[in-house]
């Protein structure tokens, strides 16, 4: 069960992981996918979309890996912003 924080319109620094979808050009083979163990790949047309829960450090790690492999980065999108939150009494 996931609880959302009461609606905040102002920006709050969110340290927890969020759900990201990252789109790169081309289909990633098994070898290259090894570089993104926490992500789920999906082929969409000529692109690949990697989906996974990442905090900010992990996100930058993924982006660095994409750079290191010479992949072409097309899109980075945050789909859901809050991780599991246990109820606070």
């Amino acid at each position: 069960m996931r609880f959302h924080l009461p609606a905040d319109d102002h920006v709050v620094m969110d340290w927890g992981p969020a759900l990201y979808m990252i789109r790169v050009d081309g289909h990633l083979g098994a070898m290259v996918l090894y570089a993104f163990p926490g992500m789920t790949p999906q082929q969409k047309g000529a692109h690949t979309v990697l989906t996974g829960w990442l905090d900010q450090s992990a996100l930058h790690g993924v982006l660095a890996e994409i750079e290191a492999l010479g992949l072409v980065l097309l899109e980075v999108r945050q789909v859901e912003s809050h991780g599991e939150i246990t109820e606070i009494q």
Binding site: V24, D25, G26, H27, L28, G29, A30, M31, V32, Y34, A35, Q43, A46, T48, E67, A68, L69, G70, L71
Partner: protein, 897 residues
């Protein structure tokens, strides 16, 4: 087996790699992309060129082809930043090495300065720039893989370098991503050129050329297909060519490749690997865990032999394997290529990965490459061993200038409790101390002490020594010298029978311990012990090849010798400075104690101008940083120079600065007393007797009983016109009833006594006292007390035959009053008569000659005659000149005539 190319560092740990550039050999399979090279040629006409493009676009190849062009009329310094380079100093040392190698100044590698830990980056920037300026040739600095530089200070220092290039020097920088360099000024001035990914793409024509050069025959439309599929990406094309070589049906290959959506790298890499013979595949995959590889290491990881041959062949066959040294014994893989290999390794042989890292770790560790070894242990998940190794090597690595690396390795440990976390506490202490977070350091050290008690004996001794060393350094940084020294004895005994790696570690630790101990002892005035330890430390440091420690020991030895004799202090300071200069450190903070102590010694022996020269250097060396103790010494030395030159108010400012430094230090030490005493004395002499009395009263009983303070009290009394009381104060000092720092205080006391006697009208006693002072001063040829107390005035009126120190007197007067005053060489030929002197003393006022006549109750005629004769005797042409000359000859003060 040759060692890793040790281009930078103390000869142990190689820093970044500056691959020696082999001119004329552009490498296999590289075509000369003429248009692109020409574009780079044009770009390099501007000061700075930035090549910013992603991995595999051919930046390095372009740089190499460009540099290889025949007819380059400038020197090219080529360096590549090591992956994950966190230590700016190592980066700069590598660049220095590349510059020197290019300038052809002898054996570049051997001449590199060793690392000075903590050395400010901006000093290194200056050094590089000045070496570039000195060489009159046109230079091009080429820096490849600049994005790998991951230190927080990188951006600032790089910007400084690039914006301050001397004329005739150009820079070309290759990077994978845009860097936060603030080069807008260069851009505005039209001095910045950029080459980006779009320009690096292979054109169709170039693709065809490339295929032709590789001996691959493809019909035109197929070549076009290949070009379109790879989108002109250099790495893709290269991989394609490797896969196509020897294909029976190249057209079909390209067709299939084009029909696939897989990323180019993925597809072609797999293809390329498949085509390699099994032993080559095995080597490529298994050595992919390494940053750099040589034949021996490759043999170890593959469990085979003949790896060196394979590596050489690989380099000849493709541009993904590059050798790092002229002997072609060390190699590295193109980053992206290596990255892909690593992934394939994890994909196909996951169980072997940890083992490979461990093999690499142990091999590297046995060759002193501690930082790399620890990284591999971490990658193998061997946290405990990694923690132990990091703990053992942290101090040495910091000494090697790899503090940034230590911090990064520390961060890489997962947050866990347990054994390795206790181990790492020492590393945390060292890292915190490097960042000057001294309270945290203390906390960590307490934990380490508790833990060390449970360790095996040899390890425990090393840990204890490391703890004591770190503790002593904290004391230095805080300026708190009182309580530490007891631990000394335990420190310095080390067992024998260790492995050579262990012995090296222990020697490092011992040298550091001796240094910190010696310095602490010097400040707490245990001078004999201090000297012993610093001498031993310097010798040990020299033996183990730690020049930085050697210079530090020698510099502080010079400082500590001040108590013994100025001649010895001078000698030792000069030795320290000479050794420091050999490594280019003569303006660094590490040499500051010697610079300041030398200035000090020179001032005491009356060489004010030379001293000032050294003092300026000392000040510059301690500007940004430095222990409070040394900065205090610099302030104090500046102060006494000002007093000696008669600039009382400026002296007071310097004394105040010294007291500020004192406030930063916990507890007292040798110099505190002097600062207080001379402040009070200077205030009194400037007529600020109230403040002087207040300062005197502010001292507690113990402080006030020191001989130096009693002297200062006497100065106040003299200024208050109470010479009898002054004599009483001085009596206790002269009789030796109060503690004094050294005989210098007694010289001062005798001189003050001489003044007191003179004020009481007892000329003979005054001269006797002065003679006593001269007796004490003669051996070391001391002159400062005569200047500071103003006693040179007494010497002037002393009949020369009445002293056995005539030469010293002459020298003192020369030093204090300017040349010629001491001897009779430049006295006016005729003395001025008494009446003439009276008139002379009115000249500086704005009274007219008629008014002067009125004052003196003589006729105007008389005054005129006197003035004419004054001008003649002084060689002056007008009133101003006469006043000036009179001032020079000190005829204007109202003395007893």
């Amino acid at each position: 087996m040759t060692d890793l190319p040790a281009v930078a560092g103390s000869g142990r740990a190689p820093g970044g790699a500056a691959p020696v550039h082999r001119r004329g050999k552009a490498g296999p399979g590289l075509i000369r992309r003429h248009d692109l090279v020409a574009a780079l040629d044009r770009a390099v006409q501007k000061r700075v060129t930035i090549i910013s493009a992603p991995a595999g676009t051919g930046k390095t190849s372009l740089l190499r082809t460009w540099a290889d062009q025949p007819g380059q009329d400038c020197r090219i310094a080529f360096m590549t930043v090591r992956p994950g380079q966190r230590d700016m100093q190592l980066f700069w040392l590598t660049m220095l090495g590349a510059v020197r190698a290019a300038a052809g100044s002898g054996d570049g590698a051997a001449q590199l300065p060793p690392v000075a830990p903590g050395s400010g980056g901006s000093a290194m920037v200056d050094k590089v720039l000045s070496e570039l300026e000195e060489s009159c040739d046109r230079f091009v600095l080429v820096i490849d893989d600049l994005h790998e530089l991951s230190s927080p200070e990188a951006a600032g220092q790089l910007t400084a370098l690039l914006t301050r290039l001397p004329p005739g020097v150009r820079a070309v920088v290759a990077t994978r991503r845009d860097l936060p360099l603030r080069l807008h000024k260069l851009r505005l001035a039209g001095e910045l050129a950029e080459i980006r990914a779009a320009q690096l793409r292979f054109t169709e024509h170039e693709t065809r050329q490339f295929l032709a050069a590789a001996g691959i025959a493809l019909p035109d439309h197929v070549a076009v297909m290949l070009h379109q599929r790879t989108e002109g990406w250099a790495a893709g094309l290269r991989l394609a060519v490797l896969s196509l070589a020897g294909q029976s049906d190249p057209e079909r290959f390209v067709a299939e490749f084009s029909g696939s959506d897989r990323t180019v790298a993925d597809y072609l890499m797999a293809e390329m690997l498949e085509r390699q013979p099994p032993e080559v595949q095995r080597l490529l995959l298994r050595t992919s865990v390494l940053d750099r590889v040589n034949g021996e290491l490759a043999d170890l990881l593959t469990g085979a032999t003949g790896s060196e041959r394979i590596l050489l062949d690989l380099e000849d066959a493709n541009a993904f394997v590059v050798s790092l040294d002229p002997g072609r014994t060390w190699f590295r893989y193109h980053r992206m290529f290596g990255e892909l290999l690593r992934l394939e390794l994890r994909h196909t042989m996951p169980a072997d990965v940890a083992g490979l890292h461990q093999l690499a770790a142990h091999w590297l560790a046995s060759r002193g490459q501690a930082a790399d070894a620890i990284g591999h242990l971490q990658a193998a998940g061997d946290w405990n061993e990694a923690a132990r190794m990091l703990t053992d090597h942290a101090l040495s690595l910091t000494l090697d200038g790899q503090a940034g690396t230590v911090a990064a390795l520390l961060r890489a440990f997962p947050a866990r409790t347990g054994e390795e976390s206790a181990d790492l506490t020492l590393v945390r202490a060292i890292a915190d101390q490097y960042q000057l977070r001294l309270d945290q350091t203390d906390t960590h050290l307490r934990e380490v002490r508790a833990y060390a008690a449970t360790a095996a004996p040899a390890r425990r001794r090393r840990l204890e020594m490391a703890v004591a060393s770190v503790d002593l350094l904290s004391a230095r940084l805080r300026g708190h010298f009182d309580s530490i020294v007891e631990q000394a004895g335990a420190l310095l005994c080390l067992g024998d029978g260790q492995t050579s790696a262990d012995a090296a570690l222990s020697s490092d630790l011992k040298a550091i311990a001796l240094l910190n101990l010696g310095v602490t002892e010097a400040w707490s005035l245990r001078l004999a012990d201090s000297e012993r330890h610093l001498v031993e430390g310097a010798a040990l440091a020299c033996r183990i090849g730690r020049p930085y420690l050697q210079v530090a020991c020698l510099a502080h030895l010079g400082f500590a010798s001040t108590g013994r004799s100025f001649a010895m202090a001078r000698r030792r300071c000069e030795e320290a400075i000479t050794v420091a200069a050999r490594h280019g450190w003569d303006a660094e903070a590490v040499t500051a104690p010697a610079l300041a102590a030398l200035a000090n010694a020179l001032i005491w022996t009356g060489q004010f101008d030379v001293a000032e020269h050294w003092l300026i250097r000392a000040r510059r060396a301690t500007q940004a940083e430095g222990e409070p103790g040394i900065r205090l010494l610099v302030c104090l030395t500046s102060a006494i120079l000002e007093v000696a030159r008669g600039h009382g108010h400026r002296a007071l400012e310097e004394f105040a600065a010294a007291r500020q430094m004192q406030a930063l230090m916990v507890g007292e030490h040798g110099l505190t007393v002097r600062v207080n005493a001379w402040t009070i004395a200077t205030q009194a002499r400037l007529g600020m007797t109230r403040q002087a009395r207040a300062a005197l009263a502010a001292l507690d009983g113990r402080q006030a009983s020191a001989g130096e303070i009693r002297n200062a009290a006497a100065v106040i009394l003299l200024a208050e016109q109470d010479p009898a009381a002054a004599r009483r104060e001085l009596r206790v000092v002269l009789d030796g009833d109060v503690p004094v720092l050294s005989y210098l205080t007694q010289v001062e006391a005798h001189l003050l006594d001489a003044f007191a006697c003179r004020d009481l009208g007892d000329e003979r006693a005054s001269q006797e006292a002065a003679e006593q002072a001269l007796n004490l001063a003669e051996p070391d040829r001391l002159m400062l007390p005569f200047a500071m107390t103003g006693a040179w005035q007494l010497l002037e009126t002393m009949p020369r035959h009445g002293t056995s120190h005539a030469a010293l007197v002459t020298d003192i007067l020369d030093a204090v009053c300017g040349p010629g005053r001491g001897g009779s060489a430049m006295m006016p030929v005729e003395q001025l008569s008494r009446s003439e002197l009276r008139v002379l003393r009115y000249l500086p006022t704005n009274l007219t000659r008629r008014e002067i006549a009125g004052e003196l109750s003589v006729s105007l005629n008389t005054v005129d005659t006197h003035i004419r004769r004054i001008y003649a005797k002084l060689g002056a042409t007008d009133r101003t000149a006469a006043v000036e000359r009179g001032r020079e000859l000190r005829l204007l003060s109202v003395g007893r005539t």
